[in-house]
């Protein structure tokens, strides 16, 4: 339970101070969320996807720490103009690398951001009744981790409430 110094790198700090692609998108094709306020970490992605399955625009909103904000912002940069199939291949490690590395206790921020992205892609395919060969039925690592974190915080906050 002790506190840790968090030596965020300059890239994380820059994205925290001047996040790119911040804000709600009114004409989004798909919206996806990962995390919840109880975790203290939550990301919403808004994607505008063309009929050719290319991400034309991406934006985000984030309730969370500096790493959470930075990873969400960098994901929206990474996937711009990308085909869905290629966006699906993005891993949390490549996101952590893109922000210049994350302190280990902040890995979960990168995981949550990619979890939200993969949920968005999955939701888009479901809405369009598409089942492309590159989209596995089984949840990806990041989607599973996001689910786990949400479940854990639900259990913890429920336990806290019943203890009262």
């Amino acid at each position: 339970m002790s506190r840790m110094p968090l030596p965020y790198n300059p890239k994380v700090l820059e994205l925290f101070r001047n996040p790119k692609n911040l804000g709600k998108m009114e004409d989004a094709t798909v919206v996806a969320v990962a995390g919840n306020p109880a975790c203290g970490d939550m990301i919403t992605f808004y994607l505008k996807i063309s009929d050719q399955e290319v991400i034309e625009k991406a934006s985000f909103e984030s309730y969370g720490c500096a790493a959470n904000i930075a990873t969400a912002s960098i994901v929206t940069e990474m996937i711009k103009e990308m085909k869905l199939e290629d966006a699906w291949k993005i891993t949390w490690k490549s996101v952590a690398e893109a922000v210049g590395g994350l302190p280990s206790i902040k890995f979960h921020c990168g995981i949550l951001a990619v979890g939200a992205l993969k949920r968005a892609i999955r939701a888009y395919c479901k809405n369009k009744r598409l089942s492309p060969g590159w989209l596995p039925e089984e949840l990806s690592f990041e989607e599973k981790q996001a689910l786990e974190e949400e479940e854990l915080s639900r259990i913890l906050s429920k336990r806290m409430r019943t203890e009262e």
Binding site: R3, P5, P7, L22, G40, D41, I43, C65, E164
Partner: protein
Amino acid sequence: MIENVKELLKAHEGLKHEVYLDLENSSTVPKEVIEAMLPYFSQRAYGNPTLTHKPGWEAFETIMELTQKIAHFLGCKTLEEVNFTPGETEANNLALIGTAFSMKDKGKKLVISEVEPISILHVTELLQKYGFKTTKVPVDKEGFINLEKLGEVVDKETILVSLSAANHEIGTVQPIKEALEIVKDKNSGTIFHTDASDAYGKIPFTVKDLGVDLATVSSYKILGPRGIGALYVRQGVNVERILEGQIGTQKLWPGVENTPLIVGFAKASELAFQNFENNVNHMQKLQDKLLAGIFGRISDVKLNGPKGDRRAPDNANVSFLKCEGEALTIELSLSGVYVSSGSACTRRILQPSHVLVAIGRNFEEAHGSILMKITRYHTEEDINYVLDVIPKAVERIREITGSTGVE
């Protein structure tokens, strides 16, 4: 890692004003205290106080005179009741483990509250591994301990009760005297400890008035140097040593006495007590101004802990909804306002501050909490600056939050 920190520090260059409000986690030491300490490193009393030479006798004389001073501020009966330790954490460990050692044949039960500091909480967890059991008494929405429950849980097996005099996070001033009467009524042999680190120099009390058996005080919580604190042990109460080594003037803590730090602690005590009422009034005035300013300027905020004179005069703890605490501490730091947060993000685990959860704050409210403490050295100008910075910082973080998390 160190390179990143250098870059973070560079991002702070050119700050026009800086206000340090994180007195919970370390202190700024005033010039008078540093000046009082300086001669004791190499000019006088640098000897070991147990040895037979001039520098040793000087150290002995210094330590005894300053112990007398601190004993006076605490309201002790004898000098021997003051036992120096390297800080609050060590004094709390000594109180709990030392009592568990000395009382192990009388019972195995300990009672604390849900809002005790980590150095109490984790020690009871450690003692559980060795057969001791701990009951945590709940608190109400303002952090006051449930006295009725306290009376119910204390029994013949209870060897120790430990309740903080003023809560370190939310400033709740506990009714220690009443709690003690309830405890002693149930079991006159139960040792009563209070961590008074956040009360000493801020809330008028003496150990004699309170009637406690053990009390912890800390130097840095009153703007003294870090690395020194004390455990008051009432005459006749038996606490065993938890460390062994060369015993000097301090019967409960082995090792060579750190005379300069004792000098700093005593000087800081003197400064806190010499204009006690003025100091407290000053802190209270700025506390009122800070809280009124925050509540007047920002929506969706909640005060954590009680209002008025049942709150420590230096403590301001506020939850900003839709605003994650760690992000807010960084944003404030970039503007020169230094605070801490009860957010899980500033900790190793997913859970936010146990104190805020105990007073019924939900996770989101706890994640958005900011803890600030005011000293007698803060000025109206400092608070004006803080009140200029906080609304802008909260607004920017809330802009990033956007509609995320809105059901």
